[in-house]
C-alpha cells in the first residue's frame, strides 16, 4: 500500500478503497453517515418475516373487531429507526373546541414562484430521466377541496440519489436536478408538478434494503391538525413487499392509497407520462374557518 504521510489515515484508506459496499453499516443508520457499528444488519428474510407477522397480527385484530388503521403504527420494528423514536405512552386526547390547532398556517403567492412546480426547469440544462407529470386533488375528510394551500415535494434523481450531502449512495448526482418543488392548490384543490421519475435506492435498514421509487409530499390543510407528510409510490413497483416503510401501513386498502395511478390521458405526446394521486387529509378544523379557504 503506497504511503503518503503516515499511510494510515482514514482519508488515505478512503482514497484507495472502492466505494464501500453497503453491507456492514449499522442497521438503524439509514444512510445517514452515522459511525459504523460491528453488528451485522439483519437479512431481508428477517425483515420480511417481521413484516408478515405484523400484518397477520393486524388482520387478526381487525377480525376480532379492532379498528382499521389508516396510518402506520409509530412503533414498527421492521423499520429499525422507529424503535427509539416513538412514544411508549398513549397520546393524550384534546377535544377542546377552542384549541389553536383547529386553525392553521396559510400561504399565498408570496410563498411560491411559478417555476417551483416544474422540477425539470430549475437548472441550465435538462435533467436525465423519464419526464413525468404528477397531479391530483387535495381533499379534506369530507371530500371538500383544500384551496390555496401549500404542497411541497422532494425526491431522489433518476439514478436514485438525493441532492443531500449525507446521501452517499454511489449513484451519480445530476447537475440539472435538485428534486424539490412547491405549489399552491387551486380552487378545486388541484396540484400539479412536472418532474422526472425518481430511481429506487439502497438504504441501510437491513442487508440489501432498497426503497421503492417514491416522491415525498408535505401538505397543509385547513387546520394544523390536518398536517400530513407522506410518500407517493408508482404503480407496479416490485420492491413494495420488501420495503418496511411502505409496509408499515399494515392495512392493505390504506397502503394502496399511497400508490399513484398511471393515467394515459395525463400523458403528453412526445413529452411526458402522467400520474394521478389524490390526497385526503384528516383531522378536525374550526367550523368558522371553513369559508374563504
Amino acid at each position: 500500500m503506497p504511503s503518503t504521510s503516515d499511510g494510515t489515515g482514514p482519508a488515505d484508506r478512503r482514497a484507495e478503497a472502492p466505494p464501500p459496499r453497503p453491507a456492514s453499516p449499522p442497521p438503524a443508520a439509514e444512510r445517514t453517515g452515522e459511525a459504523a457499528a460491528p453488528p451485522a444488519p439483519p437479512a431481508q428474510e428477517v425483515i420480511s418475516a417481521e413484516i408478515a407477522q405484523t400484518r397477520q397480527e393486524y388482520l387478526k385484530a381487525v377480525e376480532g373487531g379492532g379498528p382499521r388503521l389508516d396510518h402506520p403504527p409509530r412503533a414498527y420494528p421492521p423499520y429499525r429507526s422507529s424503535i427509539l423514536r416513538h412514544p411508549r405512552q398513549p397520546l393524550v386526547a384534546v377535544r377542546d373546541p377552542d384549541a389553536v390547532e383547529l386553525t392553521g398556517p396559510v400561504f399565498g403567492v408570496t410563498d411560491v414562484t411559478e417555476l417551483d412546480a416544474d422540477l425539470t426547469r430549475r437548472h441550465a440544462g435538462e435533467p436525465l430521466g423519464e419526464r413525468i407529470r404528477v397531479t391530483g386533488r387535495v381533499l379534506d375528510g369530507d371530500g371538500r377541496p383544500v384551496r390555496g394551500q401549500l404542497v411541497e415535494i422532494w425526491q431522489a434523481n433518476a439514478a436514485g440519489r438525493y441532492a443531500h450531502q449525507r446521501d452517499q449512495h454511489p449513484a451519480p448526482l445530476d447537475p440539472n436536478f435538485t428534486g424539490a418543488g412547491r405549489c399552491l392548490t387551486d380552487d378545486e384543490g388541484r396540484y400539479a408538478f412536472t418532474t422526472i421519475r425518481p430511481g429506487a435506492y439502497p438504504w441501510r435498514n437491513h442487508d440489501n434494503a432498497w426503497r421503492p421509487a417514491h416522491i415525498h409530499f408535505s401538505l397543509f390543510g385547513a387546520a394544523f391538525t390536518q398536517r400530513l407528510v407522506t410518500q407517493m409510490y408508482f404503480p407496479g413497483d416490485p420492491l413494495f413487499p420488501f420495503d418496511p416503510i411502505m409496509q408499515s401501513v399494515t392495512d392493505d386498502a390504506a397502503r394502496e392509497r399511497l400508490v399513484a395511478r398511471y393515467e394515459h390521458d395525463l400523458s403528453t405526446p412526445e413529452w411526458s407520462l402522467g400520474y394521478r394521486w389524490d390526497i385526503v387529509l384528516s383531522g378536525p378544523a374550526a367550523t368558522w374557518m371553513e369559508e374563504g379557504r
Partner: protein, 218 residues
C-alpha cells in the same frame, strides 16, 4: 392494410380516486402518513424559518431546546413546526413565511409587518433548535408538530409558556390540569434568563427522563 381492431382497454388497477368517492357522496378515507426520512433538508427548511418575530422586536421571546430519542441521544434530523396566534389573539395567520425574491426565487424571510404564526426549524447536528417569536395572544401555548427520520407519523405537542409570555394561567389550562405532575412538567417551558425558555422534546422516555406528552386531536 387496416390495422387489427383494438381490444377494449382493461381497467387500470390502482388507487380508487378520492375525487370519485367524494363525488359519490362518500367520505374519502385519509391518505396514510409516511416518515419524512433523512433527506428533506434541501426541500422543507427555509431561511429564517425559526424567526417568527420581526427582527429587533422588543417583545421577542426565544424558545430553544433539544429533541431526544429513547436512548437519550439528541436527534440531528428532526424537523419542528410551530403554529400560534398572533399577539393580538388572531388565529387567521398570514402568508409570507416563505416569502420569495422575485428575481432569484430565493427565500428572503418574512417581511416583518404581518405575523404569519408559522415557523419551521430543523434540528442541528446536536439535536438543537431555536425559535424566536412573539408571545401568543389569548392562550399560554405554542403548538408544535414533530417530524423525524424513524417517525412514521408526525407527533403534536405544545410549549406552555409561564408568566407574562403566555396569556392566561397555564395552571388553569384544561389540558395541563388533566395531567399528573410528572407528565404535565414535560409541556412546561423552563425560564432561562430574560425572555428565553428551554423546551426539550423526548420522543420516548429513556428511563431517566420523562417522555414528552403528545396530543391526539381526533
Amino acid at each position: 392494410m387496416t390495422p387489427p381492431p383494438v381490444p377494449p382497454v382493461p381497467p387500470v388497477p390502482g388507487t380508487p380516486r378520492a375525487e370519485a368517492l367524494a363525488a359519490a357522496g362518500e367520505r374519502p378515507p385519509p391518505t396514510p402518513s409516511q416518515t419524512v426520512g433523512p433527506f428533506y433538508g434541501y426541500a422543507l427548511p427555509f431561511a429564517k424559518g425559526g424567526d417568527m418575530a420581526p427582527a429587533g422586536h422588543p417583545d421577542t421571546i426565544t424558545v430553544h431546546g433539544r429533541v431526544h430519542d429513547g436512548a437519550g441521544q439528541p436527534i440531528p434530523d428532526a424537523l419542528l413546526e410551530f403554529w400560534q396566534p398572533a399577539p393580538d389573539g388572531s388565529r387567521a395567520g398570514a402568508p409570507g413565511s416563505l416569502r420569495r425574491d422575485p428575481v432569484t426565487g430565493e427565500i428572503v424571510g418574512r417581511h416583518g409587518v404581518d405575523f404569519t404564526g408559522f415557523g419551521r426549524v430543523a434540528t442541528d447536528a446536536d439535536g438543537h433548535y431555536t425559535l424566536r417569536t412573539l408571545p401568543p395572544g389569548g392562550v399560554p401555548y405554542i403548538s408544535v408538530c414533530v417530524f423525524a427520520r424513524g417517525l412514521l407519523h408526525h407527533l403534536f405537542t405544545r410549549v406552555y409558556l409561564p408568566g407574562p409570555a403566555g396569556a392566561g394561567d397555564p395552571a388553569a389550562d384544561p389540558l395541563l390540569a388533566s395531567l399528573p405532575p410528572r407528565r404535565r412538567a414535560t409541556l412546561l417551558a423552563a425560564p432561562e434568563g430574560e425572555k428565553t425558555y428551554r423546551f426539550d422534546i423526548r420522543l420516548q422516555g429513556d428511563g431517566a427522563h420523562e417522555e414528552t406528552v403528545f396530543l391526539d386531536f381526533g
